[in-house]
Each structure stands twice: as structure tokens, then as C-alpha cells.
């Protein structure tokens, strides 16, 4: 509904875009904005996490409109299917039901967050204002759309080979990081259990 209002308020019809694409863009954009706000406003962390899932799905929808099909699928597989499961596990792990106890510890962080957030918002606002009307998204006209998984594969294994291989190093670092995080405690536990 929010999207529909936006659509009627700002009927931006770029030549070549269809009515359907525009309508979907504003509906999905509305869903993203509303559910992102819900992430902040819900008091219960589980609710926030699920609002985030909704936002991620809507973003996947936006990717589909942009013809980035592979990225849309990856968005759902990695973010909604994997990272959100981690978030939910962590919420359950820490049992973050009690918000009041967090409040006083967060008071200074809140002020810093307000400053950083307003800086970020100003930046986004500036870029948006600067770019409105001047964006010409590069369109590949060679037949295959940009977001086609095959095109991505070809680029990834020729032009962007080095970044791709470096990505595996980042994943390796993450893997070692997890073990360091988790293992200290299980070491202690195994010591105490062998003592008793």
C-alpha cells in the first residue's frame, strides 16, 4: 500500500520500463522500507529478525526486477537461508528476551549511533539528490542480461579471478575466527570435566 502511494506520488516512468516493472518496484520498495523500520521498532529480537527476513526477500524481488536473477537467488540462499538462521540461533543462544537490562548499557552507544546514522543518512541523501535523473544503468545488449549466472561465471573466472581467490582467504579467516571464538570455552570445559 505504501508502495502504491509512492507510485502515485512519484510516477517516474523511465522510457522502456513497463508498467508492471514500475508497479513491482514500488511495492517491493515499500515492503523493504516498512520491514526495515520494523526491524528497528519491534521490541522483541525474534520479531526484528523476521522483519529482516521480509526485507531480504523484498530485496531479492528487486534484484529480479533488475534482471539480476543469480544475485536474487543468492540473496535468499545466503541471507535468508543461512545468515538469518545464524541470527536466530544467536538470539536463542543469548536469550535476548530482556530488553530493559540492555538499556542502561547502551545509553552512550545510542548517542554515537545517532551521530553516525545521521552522517550516513546525509551521505545517502546527498548521493540520491546528485544522481536523480542522471543515472543511466549500463545495459548489456549482447543478448544475455547482466545478471545471468553464466555471465557472472565468465566474469568471475577471467576478469575477477584474483578477487575471487582472495574471497576464499576471507572465508578461511572466518572459519578460523569461529573456532577461536568457540573453542576457548570448550577447552575450559574439557579441562574441568577431566578434573572431576
Amino acid at each position: 500500500m505504501f508502495g502504491a502511494i509512492l507510485w502515485f506520488a512519484f510516477p517516474i516512468n523511465k522510457p522502456g520500463d513497463t508498467l508492471l516493472q514500475n508497479a513491482l518496484f514500488f511495492v517491493l520498495g515499500g515492503v523493504v522500507v516498512i520491514s526495515a523500520l520494523c526491524v528497528i521498532y519491534f521490541r522483541n529480537p525474534i520479531y526484528s529478525a523476521l522483519a529482516l527476513v521480509t526485507a531480504l526477500f523484498a530485496v531479492a524481488g528487486l534484484f529480479i526486477i533488475l534482471e539480476a536473477y543469480f544475485v536474487a537467488a543468492v540473496q535468499v540462499i545466503v541471507y535468508a537461508g543461512a545468515i538469518m538462521v545464524l541470527f536466530l540461533f544467536v538470539i536463542m543462544l543469548l536469550n535476548l528476551g530482556d530488553e530493559e537490562s540492555l538499556e542502561d548499557r547502551l545509553s552512550w552507544a545510542k548517542r554515537v549511533a545517532v551521530v553516525i546514522a545521521s552522517l550516513f543518512f546525509a551521505e545517502v541523501f546527498y548521493i540520491t539528490i546528485k544522481l536523480v535523473g542522471s543515472v543511466n544503468a549500463p545495459k548489456v545488449t549482447s543478448g544475455q542480461p547482466v545478471g545471468d549466472p553464466k555471465t557472472i561465471g565468465e566474469l568471475l573466472f577471467t576478469k575477477f579471478l584474483l578477487p575471487f581467490e582472495v574471497a576464499s582467504l576471507i572465508l578461511l579467516a572466518a572459519l578460523i575466527g569461529v573456532i577461536t571464538l568457540v573453542h576457548r570455552r570448550s577447552d575450559e570445559r574439557s579441562h574441568t570435566s577431566s578434573d572431576t
Binding site: L50, V53, F70, I77, A82, V85, L88, F89, M92, P149
Partner: protein, 335 residues
Amino acid sequence: MELLSSLIFMLVIAAALLGFVMLLALILVLAERKVSAYMQDRVGPRRVGPFGSLQTIADAIKLLLKEDIISLQADRKLFILAPYLVFVSSFAVFAAIPFGRNLIASDINIGILYIMAISSVVVLGIIMAGWASNSKWALLGAMRSAAQMVSYEIPLALSILSVIMLVGSLRMQDIVGAQSGGLFSAQNRWILLDNPFTFLAFFIYFISALSEVNRTPFDLPEAESELVAGFHTEYSGMRFALFFLAEYANMFAVSAIAVTLFLGGWSGILPGYTFLNGVPGFVIKVSVLVFVIMWLRWTLPRLRVDQLMSVCWKYLIPIAFFNLIGVGVWILIFD
């Protein structure tokens, strides 16, 4: 006007597909009861209708007439939302399964990736159900189920990769087309028989899929003797029925995907789409796999949770990686 007519057309197709899947789930529930009965030297349901064929319809009506109970401790909103999420996402998988030459709801260009994406969402519904129930059994079952499902997603995805390497397309109809030679021909054979590594990949897929749909020997989330009914302990009546339907729809879906990826899909056993092709051939092949799944359930004991995790992380994943490299080397040498 054109938009409206195409919309109505799509709605009709969606309704037909939904009806088909629901009917299928009802038949599968009956089949499971009959199979289990004969395996245990019983006869199974036989009172309602000829040979008990209307038993599941009676069950469905019974569930519909049950009281709608939401426990006081439960989180009402999420409790209501969870079965929707599980049901809708297990049904949405059918959109990309080709039943015949033109019988596919949407032959999207990322077909198999779409299926993986949608089925990875089921986990969220299960965690949601367990947490919203606020019952110890439900929450424990949901956490175990989630850990199990995400773990087995890795070998599942790796085994699918070997098919993608051979076919070079994510479109489901292209995958079927690459197997048009049937079972015996030299070219475009079923991917199962293409090379020894894809043969192994099929079994990796099948084992992981069993675990993804929480079937024995991987049915720990619903291990009755330990966790009562797992994540849906607190669900009753129609809400339970939604989980139940989703479970059987999933069972059919993973078998149908296995058939599409490895066993030629709807194309026939002999070359040129002849003999047992189209919908009947497809359904027969899928039914065989579904029967195997049921057979396993009533034959094998359940794994322990630590065994379950080590089977995945210490056996299936390394085997799947080596298998993938094997397919690569095979194509490099023999192609």
C-alpha cells in the same frame, strides 16, 4: 483486458497445481500407511472406502473439525505464521518442477537455484514454530531440525553441482533435455549413468534429501521417543495438517527433483522421448523413489544426533567435494 485474462489463466494453473499437490499428499499419506502396514505384516486402513482408499480424506475432514488450540504461553502471531511459511515454501518448490514437455508452471532461468533458495526458507518456518510454541519439546526439536537441515544443505548443493557441470544450465527443462537419450544410449544418457562420479552424486543427493525432509534415518527432529513430535508438538487440528501436508509434499518434491536431475525427468527410458515418457513415466519414476523413502523409514533405525552430524560433516561433505573434483577431471579427460 489481456492482463486480466492472463492473470485468470495463471490463477487456474496455480489452483490446478495446488489441487494436484494436495491430492498427491493425501495419496502419499495413505501409501505410507499401507506400505508400513504390509512391512509389519498388518493390513493397514481398510474400513473407509474400498481398501481404505478414502481413509486420508476422512482424516483430513477429522482434522478440519478439530478445535483450534493455541496454548496460552505461545506467541500467537508467530505461532499462526509458522505453518503458512512452511506450507507455502514447500508448495512454491513445485513451480519449477517439470512434469512434462510443457507442464512446468515456470521454467525460470535459475530453476534449480530457485528450488534451493525456496527450500532453505523452510528452516526459518521451523525455528519460528518451535520458538513460538514456547514448549521445551518444540523448541529443542526446532533447533535440532534447523541444525540438521542447514548441515545437509551443503552436500545437497554439492551433489547438484555435478549435474550443473555436465548440463551447463540451471533451467530445469535444459537438464531434462540433456538426458533425452534415455537409459541405454551412448549420448545424453541419464546423468545417473553418465560417469561413476555422477552415480555417486545421486546417492549423496538422496541421502541429503532424506535428511532435508526429516525422514528416517534422519528424523531426529520428530523423534517420538525423545522429542514427542518435535517442532510441531504444540500444533493440532488444521495447523498440524498444514505441516503434515508440507512434509508429504516435500517428500514428493525431493524425489521429483532427484528424478529430474539424475533419472531423466519426464523423458523416457528409450531415446527420443519414447517409452514411459511424459507425465506417466515421470510419476512412475518419482513413485519408485518415494517408495524407497518409505521403505527406508520402516527398515532403518534412527541415528543419534552426534552420529547425524558426523555423517554430514565428516563423511558426506568431504566425499561430495572429492566427487565434484572427480566429475571435473572426468569431463577434462573424456570430453
